[in-house]
């Protein structure tokens, strides 16, 4: 039988559970988490106890959950799924760990005698248990010897934000990257989809309530078309992420799928975020509404895990050999 794009009942249930958690536990403390630069350890434990993204969860289910969390608070989503970025590197991060993965696309890290030197100007954490530094096809796992200095980030404050310095830090393990980078990119892309959806939904609702020139602003065609395009953008990005995640769960390398998923999700989210602010006009610029936060979160997410730049470079490197036909 031919293709199917519907979710299973079980997947719908997982999504529903994640959505309820996000609305009940993250939404009321959106700005509190931002100011605190983190979520309370009890909340991390509470989320973990739901068992939505345990070690056995596949990339597809994880993408569903991350979208739900990020649709409310992308920063908190990063804090709650502490092992998420490292999930594609077996044994790098045990359950309950807080991991960051740095794709060293600008060649800032140096290896010598089983140690690593270098710095990343920004990682989305104030405290970590493990750092994984990717250099080409090798992943270097570091468990001690980090120096983290708080920085003020553009967005994702709820995850924390630091400059990461490794000065002669011992490399605990070196593993092949294999699917790791594709998992990382899919993870970032899923967060972007969620943030974009949150921004779109909020702006869409606002546009039906706010009136100008005698009707809801959503009924002025300039905004109606923009809102339609934002809806398309979110769905396009989500389907790209689903495709990458499903390929990973089937055991494929998914290098092309994940690179294009991140490229697509970043492009679409970077269209949605500022557009959502635009729809709210002056109110969108104020911190009384969350759209300005999602716009900043999206801008920040698009630089995570090597960012859209590295993803687009990777996709470009594959394009000349790529077959886009029906298989």
């Amino acid at each position: 039988m031919s293709f199917r794009l519907a979710l299973s009942d079980e997947e719908r249930l997982v999504r529903e559970t994640a959505r309820r958690f996000a609305e009940d536990r993250l939404l009321p403390r959106l700005r509190a988490h931002e100011q605190a630069r983190g979520v309370a350890p009890e909340l991390v434990r509470e989320f973990a106890a739901l068992g939505l993204v345990g070690a056995e969860a596949g990339a597809f289910v994880r993408a569903l959950v991350l979208e739900e969390l990020a649709a409310v608070d992308p920063g908190a989503a990063v804090a709650l799924d502490g092992t998420g970025p490292a999930i594609g590197f077996p044994d790098a991060a045990a359950a309950g760990c807080r991991a960051v993965v740095v794709d060293d696309v600008d060649d800032r890290f140096r290896l010598h005698d089983g140690r690593i030197d270098g710095e990343a100007p920004w990682v989305p954490a104030d405290r970590i248990d493990v750092a994984v530094v990717l250099k080409d096809e090798r992943a270097h796992v570091v468990r001690e010897g980090f120096r983290l200095t708080a920085v003020k980030p553009c967005g994702l404050e709820a995850a924390g934000a630091s400059r990461l310095v490794l000065a002669g830090a011992p490399v605990a393990a070196v593993v092949e990257v294999r699917h790791g980078r594709a998992h990382l990119r899919t993870w970032v892309a899923a967060l972007l989809v969620g943030a974009a959806r949150g921004a779109h939904h909020y702006a869409m609702r606002y546009a039906t309530e706010r009136t100008a020139f005698g009707r809801p602003i959503a009924h002025h065609q300039a905004l109606a078309f923009l809102i339609a395009d934002l809806a398309i953008a979110v769905d396009a990005a989500r389907l790209a992420v689903w495709r990458a995640a499903a390929a990973l769960d089937r055991g494929e390398t998914a290098e092309w799928e994940a690179a294009t998923a991140l490229a697509e999700a970043a492009e679409q989210a970077l269209f949605v975020g500022p557009s959502a602010v635009q729809i709210l006009g002056g109110h969108g610029f104020m911190k009384d509404h969350p759209v300005e936060k999602w716009m900043r979160d999206i801008r920040t997410l698009a630089s995570l895990g090597g960012g859209r730049e590295a993803a687009e470079v990777a996709a470009a490197g594959l394009a000349v050999e790529h077959e886009a036909g029906l298989r």
Partner: protein, 393 residues
């Protein structure tokens, strides 16, 4: 988890289209484009294809309710259009005349009007005539009138851009019995070939998609037997015309969107092959990185567009409402397909704007995909009505 494998059965059908496309569809499409005239109905290819049992895979089922029909439709529509979208419309068969006949026709009408299509020796076409010089997307504005006169209806008006009308055995012509009633006043009539009063039949000269004829004609006191009122009087007394007769899930828009994807994929392949030949040389080519980035963008966009088409088709097969998703697929696919064919022209550079480069043909062909079956603007109106209650007028 989603599953994007098309399966062995459909893959075999795609493979058959590939063979047909390589040998006939693309060469004939290019030939028609260069000659500036549609492939004539007596071309031996049509008779051969018809004998092989090939008709237009438009995503519209000849047998309603067939399992996986919409999904089969999008896959085959993409592959046909990859080879040549103009030729895919030129293929013999019921075309867009099929859905209204199946949805509204009486058993007697179906039997009588389908009879010629059971002849597998000679190819047959049907057509669908809604568009008028003054009514495109706004179908409620059609002006062709229908007046009852004894055992016949008299049609007066003009139809335009009707695919395959000149070669059709019959055309489903839409007319109004009451202009003030909008769509509720619409009636569908089957106008058979040779009916007196069908005049000035001619094909239009198009920028692209030259291989099939888009015809225009005048209805001058055209008398159509009462038996050719599609569905009979009772149908219109009970239901709201064609729209009411159609199911609420849409398989045509995703199929049309998939045709845009097919054209975009042809452009991608042409650009990629050009890059392989011209940039794998020893000497470094300064714009190689730009070419690769454009190729990556084209492939990414067309693959995402395909996913939107497939989702809409999947919903249709599951008999779930898909109006928003079908319009999303159409709006997105037509947009990115235009972008991708343009990027292909960029990649080929000055070769790209010559007929030898092929991609300039695709650039012309694909424009229509953002116009037919609801322009991109109409799709956004449809989406906005559902999402934010945009009023109809």
């Amino acid at each position: 988890m989603i599953d994007l494998a098309i399966g062995a059965e459909l893959e075999a059908e795609v493979e058959r289209v590939r063979g047909l496309g390589r040998e006939f569809l693309r060469p004939l499409g290019i030939e028609a484009d260069q000659r500036g005239a549609p492939v004539p109905p007596d071309h031996p290819f049509f008779a051969m294809a018809w004998r092989m049992g090939l008709g237009q895979p438009l995503g519209v089922e000849e047998r309603p309710g067939r399992r996986g029909g919409a999904r089969r439709g999008v896959v085959l529509a993409e592959e046909m259009s990859y080879w040549d979208r103009g030729m895919s419309v030129a293929m013999p068969g019921l075309g867009l005349g099929g859905p209204p006949l199946f949805a509204m026709g009486t058993p007697e009408q179906k039997e009588r009007l389908l009879a010629p299509f059971r002849d597998r020796e000679h190819p047959h076409w049907a057509a669908f005539g809604m568009t008028e010089p003054g009514a495109g997307s706004d179908v409620a504005a059609i002006e062709t009138s229908a007046v009852r006169d004894g055992d016949a209806w008299v049609l007066r008006g003009a139809k335009t851009f009707i695919s395959n009308a000149m070669r059709a055995d019959w055309i489903v012509v839409w007319a109004t019995v009451d202009r003030s009633a909008g769509r509720a006043g619409h009636r569908a009539f089957v106008v058979e070939r040779g009916t007196p009063g069908v005049e000035d039949m001619r094909y239009e000269h198009k920028m692209g998609l030259v291989a099939y004829e888009s015809s225009s004609f005048t209805l001058r006191d055209c008398r159509v037997p009462a038996a050719n009122l599609l569905g009979g009087d009772r149908h219109y007394a009970e239901r709201a015309g064609f729209k009411g007769a159609m199911r609420s899930f849409n398989a045509t828009r995703p199929a049309i969107a998939s045709m845009a994807i097919g054209i975009a994929r042809a452009a991608y392949d042409a650009a990629r092959d050009f890059a392989r030949v011209h940039y794998t040389l020893e000497r470094a080519v300064p714009r190689y990185q730009r070419v690769r980035e454009k190729l990556a963008r084209m492939a990414r966009k067309l693959e995402v567009g395909r996913l939107l088409c497939w989702r809409a088709a999947d919903l249709a097969d599951a008999e779930q409402p898909n109006e928003v998703e079908a319009s999303m697929a159409k709006a997105f696919a037509a947009g990115i397909a235009q972008e991708a064919t343009g990027l292909a022209v960029d990649v080929l550079g000055d070769t790209g704007v010559t007929a030898d480069g092929y991609v300039e043909k695709l650039y012309r062909d694909v424009k229509a995909m953002d116009i037919v079956e609801g322009t991109g603007q109409i799709q956004r109106i449809v989406i906005a009505r559902r999402l934010v209650g945009l009023p109809s007028a």
